[in-house]
């Protein structure tokens, strides 16, 4: 721990915390962030453990057992085909998490790339930002629906569509940070020292531009999960009988009177996920990016 502590002139040890550790400490003390983290982890861990905590195949039909209410024998009840809702919702969690994480990854890579290019190289800025503006002009869900319908409904195409649709928002956030940072003295110093574009961007500019991106990506995760559910609810997402929350809820629509739990259980799971991620995002914003903070 010698680098964390510094000795001043009088020889008194001054405890100096590493900035990353200080941030983590503040996050751990942030009540909203921790609530969000717990909610998100509940769903994420359930998703990871899916093969071990479900004993029936999510697509196994059992007409004898249809419309069993939640309770004895069936934790979450069964649907119109007698499929275990526990199994379907848990596997649905896995798919939601997978899609959310993939959309975030896809979005981060291209959003940062495009945003950094536009902010750093003024020459292509105008062109990139006009394309960006045009993509942002489309209502996000509608564009995603159109893209998936054209590519054909599948899990992969849903990821692709949602990834593309939200890239402009991330790119714009990265760009505006990069534009400010590029003019900073420490960047000018790096230029003067003869550093190349790549080094300046990856070592000096981008690490300092990450805070708002991380905040944006945690909200994006929520959007992605929500949009995926919306697409599959409308019938343009992953093809049934794939157990996605949207698919399960769409199937439950015809049996609202006799089996409302087919809708409420995946709906609550979806809500917990989105709320957890929104809390996480709010907490991250408070701690990482005080400029954007909603007044306390």
């Amino acid at each position: 721990m010698s680098d964390a502590a510094a000795i001043d002139a009088e020889g008194i040890a001054l405890k100096r915390e590493h900035p990353a550790r200080a941030t983590i400490k503040r996050l751990l003390r942030h009540r909203l962030f921790m609530t969000g983290l717990v909610l998100f982890l509940i769903i994420a861990i359930t998703a990871i453990l899916a093969p071990w905590i479900t004993d029936t195949d999510p697509n196994r039909l059992s007409m004898r057992n249809k419309f069993k209410p939640p309770g004895e024998g069936w934790v979450f009840g069964t649907d119109s085909f007698g499929r275990s809702l526990w199994s379907r919702v848990v596997w649905g969690a896995q798919l939601s998490m997978l899609i959310g994480a993939s959309v975030v990854a896809l979005n981060a890579v291209f959003g940062i790339l495009i945003g950094a290019a536009a902010g750093y190289f003024r020459r292509i800025d105008n062109l990139l930002m006009r394309i960006n503006d045009a993509l942002m002009a489309f209502p996000a869900i509608l564009l995603a629906i159109a893209v998936t319908s054209v590519l054909g409904p599948s899990t992969f195409n849903v990821i692709l569509a949602l990834g593309i649709v939200y890239i402009p928002r991330t790119a714009r956030i990265v760009r505006s940070s990069v534009i400010v940072l590029r003019e900073m003295e420490f960047v000018q110093a790096a230029v003067a020292a003869g550093a190349g574009h790549w080094r300046i961007l990856t070592r000096h500019i981008l690490p300092n531009a990450m805070a708002p991106v991380i905040v944006q990506l945690s909200f994006l995760f929520a959007f992605a999960v929500l949009s995926e559910a919306t697409l599959s609810f409308l019938g343009v997402g992953a093809v049934p009988p794939t157990p996605t929350w949207g698919n399960i809820m769409a199937e439950g629509r015809d049996f609202m009177r006799e089996a409302p739990w087919i809708i409420t259980i995946p709906g609550i799971a979806l809500m917990i996920t989105v709320m957890g991620l929104n809390f996480l995002g709010d907490g991250l914003r408070d701690v990482l990016d005080p400029r954007l903070r909603i007044q306390q």
Binding site: A134, F138, I141, S149, L151, A229, M256, N278, F279
Partner: protein
């Protein structure tokens, strides 16, 4: 003022151009042969050829693009395969339903969002504030189709108070219209209301700290007047800037809400077009909706410049 409007209009031209290019490119993204894909697996080769010629897909790409823009400039947004009529006509027919629903939801959004935001700001850090912000967060996090489904289960299926779907035009029966659009409008409004409540609250808190509010209080104005006249007017400025975003969210949300409540609006038209592979309708409809949004955003910006003189001198 006119300068702001002109500059804003000019900046929309490249955006609309790229939007139209993207819409054009979209149908060319269909893997394999688009004509065969649209015609479906049971179509004969002759039918596919016919469709290809009808859609102009047999021409070279550049000619297709040229014809596309020729059409657009004459107000021809393509022809729906399913309905057999122009995209523009089909859209205009369905538009009143969506506009009515969106306006209803917008009114609810503003009422709920602004009021609760102001109250939360005035009672900052009390239980009132915390409850209001909790509800706002809940509103943001609850998927609108889930909220819609819950309302159907509760108010339509269990209690039988409101119809679970169907549409009554306002001109025929205003009460019937209210009955058929109240649940959709609430489920549509809650997300935006939550967002707006948070924005209003933080805007209001920001303004309440300003010197001129202190001055207004110091000179002995009644609190009501300080809040309504001095604080609120300035706190409303950030709200105007997000109205464009709210309308975009409302239109996106309407797609799902209309499908859920079987309201015959734009959203339902587009979802049906997507499900029945009516690509010309999808392409044209998407372009129309987006153009509409671009125009709304221009109007919002102009409105913003009108209310806030600082913008004009930028």
């Amino acid at each position: 003022m006119i300068l702001v409007a002109l500059r804003r209009l000019l900046s929309a031209i490249p955006v609309l151009f790229i939007v139209s290019l993207i819409s054009f490119g979209l149908m060319r993204l269909i893997p394999g042969d688009p004509a065969a894909s649209i015609a479906g697996p049971s179509a004969t080769p002759a039918q596919i050829d016919q469709l290809r010629r009808d859609l102009g897909l047999d021409e070279p790409l550049l000619m297709q693009l040229l014809h596309y823009y020729q059409g657009l400039l004459q107000g021809d947004f393509g022809k729906s395969l399913l309905l057999g009529k122009g995209v523009l006509a089909a859209t205009l027919e369905r538009l009143p339903v969506t506009i009515g629903l969106s306006l209803y939801a917008l009114v609810l959004t503003l009422l709920i969002g602004v009021t609760s935001g102001i109250i939360a700001a005035l009672r900052q850090n009390t239980w009132v504030d915390q409850v209001a912000m909790m509800i706002a967060m809940l509103g943001i996090s609850i998927p609108n189709f889930f909220l819609g489904l819950l309302m159907i289960i509760f108010f339509a299926v269990q209690l039988g108070w409101l119809p679970s779907g169907g549409y009554v035009p306002f001109s025929q029966d205003p009460i019937g219209w209210l009955r058929s659009t109240t649940m959709p409008a609430i489920s549509l409004a809650l997300l935006q209301a939550g967002l707006l409540a948070r924005i209003t609250r933080s805007g209001m808190l920001e303004v309440l700290r300003q010197d001129y509010v202190r001055t207004a209080r110091a000179k002995g104005l009644p609190e009501r007047q300080v809040i309504l006249k001095h604080a609120l007017a300035n706190a409303l400025i950030p709200i105007v800037t997000v109205i464009g975003i709210i309308i975009s969210l409302l239109l996106s949300g309407a797609v799902v809400t209309e499908a859920l409540f079987s309201l015959p609006g734009m959203g339902q038209l587009l979802t049906q077009a997507v499900l029945s592979r009516d690509y010309p309708m999808v392409q044209g409809g998407l372009l129309l909706v987006t153009t509409f949004l671009v125009v709304v955003n221009i109007l919002v910006d102009i409105l913003y410049a009108m209310i806030d003189p600082r913008v004009r001198y930028e």
